[in-house]
């Protein structure tokens, strides 16, 4: 009969109206500034720079290779290389960024900078309350604002941070093993040189070949 569907619809909306007062499942609104729900782990919005240790500027992992600057689709990363060098996490001397700015009003949160970074130096943050009264300067973040500790990275993306730490530890171990081997080789060479002062052509050849083979052994 004509109007049957309308009555059904009215009953449905009445059910929703009354239900929203009594049922928590129906009314799913979270009263945001007062109430918050934890973000899901894969949340990401804008990139930040990771640092190790306590001093943000000394511990920056970034070596100013500028790959992210080149890859950034909206071109919102601005890097100036330093003229001097500082030791990185394994102790090797590296260039560091004298200036590292990200314009988050341009950034489109694509995460490509994170994908291309070979040094695990830039990662995605979950901070979203970034509104400011100054839309030009306020949204151009410099390296002091961007630098956040590895602990922060662990807090926002625990799984990814653990993977990164594991990878870095492996890398460091490899580099240390290499350094140790190199040190041992030079020590052995020195010892050999000391043991045989009367050099023969054969001994010289053996001592030259030996260090090259050792790391593989």
């Amino acid at each position: 009969m004509l109007g049957e569907g309308m009555l059904k619809g009215l009953a449905e909306t009445a059910k929703n109206f009354a239900g929203s007062f009594v049922s928590k499942e129906r009314l799913t609104t979270v009263q945001y500034p007062e109430e918050r729900i934890a973000p899901i782990e894969n949340t990401r919005d804008f990139p930040f720079l990771v640092y190790d240790g306590t001093d943000p500027m000394a511990g920056l992992r970034c070596v100013a290779c500028q790959i992210c600057e080149k890859e950034c689709p909206p071109k919102c990363i601005y890097i100036t290389k330093s003229t001097d060098k500082k030791p990185d996490y394994v102790g090797k001397m590296q260039i560091y960024p004298a200036r590292f700015d990200i314009d988050i009003s341009v950034c489109m949160s694509c995460q490509i900078c994170v994908e291309v970074c070979p040094f695990e130096a830039i990662k995605m943050d979950t901070e979203f309350e970034l509104s400011t009264t100054d839309r030009f300067g306020g949204l151009l973040l410099d390296r002091d604002q961007l630098a956040k500790s590895n602990e922060h990275f662990h807090a926002v993306h625990p799984t990814e941070a653990a993977e990164v730490d594991e990878r870095l530890a492996e890398e460091k171990a490899k580099v240390e093993a290499k350094a140790k081997a190199a040190a041992e080789a030079t020590a052995a060479k020195a010892a050999a040189a000391a043991a045989t002062p009367a050099t023969t052509p054969a001994a010289l050849a053996a001592s030259e070949v030996k260090p090259a083979k050792e790391p593989g052994a």
């Binding site: 009969m1 004509l2 109007g3 309308m6 619809g9 009215l10 449905e12 909306t13 009445a14 929703n16 109206f17 239900g19 929203s20 007062f21 129906r26 009314l27 799913t28 609104t29 009263q31």
Partner: protein
């Protein structure tokens, strides 16, 4: 005069008391001005309340909370909205007809306010009780179409013009069933005066009132009047003239700031006045619904009924999807018009049958039967029902 009667007449007594301070020859004028001020203050107040109620009600229907930030429970939201619309820039398009563009919202609000002049809000509470009150209301109601077309035409905007065209077509189409569905009341009462119509519904049998809605022709007339009223005030599901998904905002697309607020006000006031007339014609006006509740002031009953009508309108808005233009027109001319004409015949035969149970049975059967038949014929023509998709099944 006892306390209940005094409370019932409190506004009338107040009016007389204030008018008493003026010289005799000025008193009728002062009394009228006071009544006008009362109407002009009360109904926009209800409008402010309605905007919050509507947003909260629609929110609850959609399982949301609705506005709850400004003031306790969001009740100060209309104040914030008012400040916002007052401080916004008033933009007039370069190619618009500036004078007509300015006049359109003013005429709308004036015309809508004029409609309240003959609306009995309580016992002895009507601004002007003249014999052709109902006719006056419909004549004034028709002039809102003029302002809507002025708005659409003067904006020089295709959306505005399309919205205005739709609005005029819709309002003229639904004016016919609106008038015809209220004619039954005039036939039974024998008067066009709104005060007389309310008085005719005044008595009680047992505890139940003699409202026209409790008769077969009255119920049919009430439902038809309500549908036509929804269309006449451009409320959902008949909000084609301002369908935001199709026409931006329809005829007031080019309005901003306070002029937009005036259109908004005019639209809601139109809704109140037409709901007030539905109450006056079919729901006993300011009369109490039960004989033992007559101690509550008459004006309180009127406003309670008005709030109930507004809630019904909000409920309908939260439920119904918008009609298509051809469905709207088909509904007006193929369903509403035959039903209202039939209702006239039924109301006439109601008088002809005289008292007794026969008229109840005959009138109800005729109306129900024709409703069912007409509905079935319309549904068959429209090809409604489950759809089959050739490639998707």
């Amino acid at each position: 005069m006892n306390f209940a009667a005094k409370l019932d007449q409190v506004f009338v007594l107040l009016q007389h008391w204030i008018a008493g301070f003026f010289p005799m020859w000025l008193q009728p004028f002062v009394a009228t001005v006071l009544a006008v001020v009362g109407i002009v203050a009360a109904f926009p107040g209800i409008f402010a309340l309605t905007t919050v109620l509507e947003r909260k009600g629609l929110g609850r229907i959609q399982n949301r909370l609705g506005p709850n930030r400004v003031g306790p429970f969001g009740l100060l939201q209309p104040v914030a909205d008012g400040i916002k619309s007052l401080t916004k820039e008033d933009i007039v398009p370069l190619s618009a007809d500036a004078v007509v563009h300015f006049l359109a919202p003013v005429i709308l609000v004036v015309a809508v306010f004029l409609g309240f002049a003959v609306l009995p809000i309580g016992r002895n509470m009507v601004l002007s009780n003249f014999d052709a009150g109902l006719l006056f209301f419909f004549a004034i109601g028709a002039s809102t179409e003029l302002s809507i077309f002025m708005a659409g035409w003067s904006s020089r905007n295709k959306y505005s013009l399309l919205g205005a065209m739709r609005a005029v077509a819709q309002m003229i189409s639904y004016e016919v069933p609106l008038l015809l569905s209220s004619v039954v009341v005039v036939m039974i009462t024998g008067s066009l005066s709104t005060v007389k119509i309310v008085e005719a519904q005044g008595g009680f049998s047992g505890i139940l009132p003699h409202w026209y809605v409790f008769t077969p022709w009255g119920f049919a007339g009430f439902v038809l009047f309500l549908i036509a009223a929804l269309a006449e005030t451009n409320r959902s599901p008949f909000d084609l003239p301002e369908g935001e998904s199709e026409l931006v905002a329809g005829y007031f697309t080019e309005y901003s700031g306070f002029k937009f607020a005036l259109f908004f006000l005019g639209e809601y006031l139109g809704m109140f006045s037409i709901a007030g007339f539905a109450i006056t014609l079919f729901l006993g006006g300011w009369g109490a619904p039960f004989s033992f509740l007559t101690f509550i002031p008459s004006w309180a009953w009127f406003f309670l009924k008005l709030l109930a009508a507004i809630m019904l309108f909000i409920w309908l808005r939260g439920t119904m999807p918008r009609l298509r233009q051809d469905q709207l027109m088909n509904f007006a001319w193929k369903f509403m018009l035959p039903m209202t004409l039939l209702n006239l015949v039924v109301a006439g035969s109601w008088r002809f049958f005289g008292d007794g149970w026969v008229r109840w049975v005959v009138c109800s059967l005729v109306l129900l039967g024709s409703y069912a038949l007409l509905g079935r014929a319309l549904m068959r023509k429209q090809g409604l029902g489950p759809r089959s998709y050739r490639y998707a099944d």
